[in-house]
Amino acid sequence: MSEITLTIDGREITTQPGRTILEAAEEHGIYIPRLCHLPGLKPFGGCRVCTVLVNGRSEAACTQPVAQGIVVENDTEQLRAWRRNIIEMLFVEGNHFCPSCEKSGDCELQALAYRMGISAPRHPFLWPRREVDASHPDVLIDHNRCILCARCARTSRDIDGKEVFGFVGRGPARKLTINPGARLVDSALDVTDQAVNACPVGAILRKRGAYATPVGRRHYDRAPIGSGIETPAELTIDRGDQP
């Protein structure tokens, strides 16, 4: 089939049919922020961090396929404000104590907040009560930091072939569960499972590996998330104004 042409923020790009907007953008060095998307997994569309406007309508760039002639808005003031809001809500709806978190510096949620210049979430903190499951000999789950992106569940199901993780409840009551029982030690999870590496935050951690990388050499210490895809933008601290 012939190539497809579309524009992203006024820039015309060509791509193959069947790609998602996020993939097409990436091919051309345009970074669309994302959180629940993980290459190798089927598009999921859970977090909405990748929201773009397609001919004026909001769509998730990680699930929306490209189409001939569409006009995509990505890096606009409005979309940046929406995305910031999502990230800020994720911070207040869990319990994120970055200063003592094993994942700090390598965490995609934190890295997105840095990239967006979020100096503090503006929403009231909810301080939910959540558990830590340290029952497994090699892997730890801290539900306080889980953002319900389902990357672990999808990886376990589609790549490891195990379905170790599932979800119960809806809305604010939604929660990650372990199959078949409640504890990780009773599940089929092995430390070598790909699912262990799939978590973007510090909710699933390998034991005995914490704080191994010195500050300054962690993933997002020097360059913002996404800068592997595009040229890093000059980032400045948030001044608290929102359009």
């Binding site: 970055c98 700090s104 840095y114 990239r115 503090a120 301080w127 020097r222 360059a223 400045t236 601290i237």
Partner: protein, 181 residues
């Protein structure tokens, strides 16, 4: 013209942000050229005598005394800055928000493995400020104008922010200076 005044305080924090502030090293000589100090643990002044341009607040609010000091800072400072993760997000003291107050006090004063407390009672002297139900970041108590994250914010971040604020310049922090840890 008189120099702008800067006030600082430590609420429910560990003084780490103030230590980081002192890490500006020899720039402290520039600092005394640039500003005068209002109340601050650095000069041990306890009360405001006149208005301050900038207030740097370390720590969130864990008790009634923290709230009183924070309100006083809001009243007397033109620009109020939450400095560090405890001030911006509650931080380590806010970990107590995940258990009930009763559980927390019982662990701290009665049942904790290293507790020596023959009276078996939780301190209840009237002189002690009452605890809040939850530890709050400063912006949940008063209006905060700027947030400077970090645990602690690096000396470079504090320096850059302070210099910009006292000279009315926009704060521009490079990516490497915005950290939550």
């Amino acid at each position: 013209m008189s120099k702008p005044k800067v006030a600082t305080c430590s609420l429910a924090g560990c003084f780490g942000c103030h230590m980081s502030f002192l890490d500006i090293d020899e720039r402290i000589l520039q600092l005394v050229e640039l500003v005068d100090f209002g109340p601050s643990p650095i000069n041990d002044l306890k009360h405001f005598t006149d208005r301050c341009r900038v207030g740097l607040v370390e720590g969130g609010c864990a008790n009634a005394e923290n709230v009183r000091v924070l309100r006083e800072f809001r009243t007397h400072c033109d620009i109020l800055v939450s400095m560090g993760y405890c001030a911006t997000s509650g931080g380590i003291p806010a970990m107590r928000n995940l258990v009930s107050m009763e559980e927390c006090l019982r662990e701290a004063y009665m049942e904790g493995p290293s507790v020596h407390n023959p009276t078996g009672r939780v301190p209840g002297d009237l002189e002690l400020p009452l605890l809040l139900d939850k530890v709050r970041p400063c912006h949940e108590v008063v209006k905060i104008d700027y947030h400077l994250p970090g645990c602690p914010p690096s000396a470079d971040a504090i320096w850059a922010a302070l210099c910009a604020l006292v000279s009315d310049a926009p704060i521009e922090l490079p990516y490497q200076l915005i950290k939550y840890d």
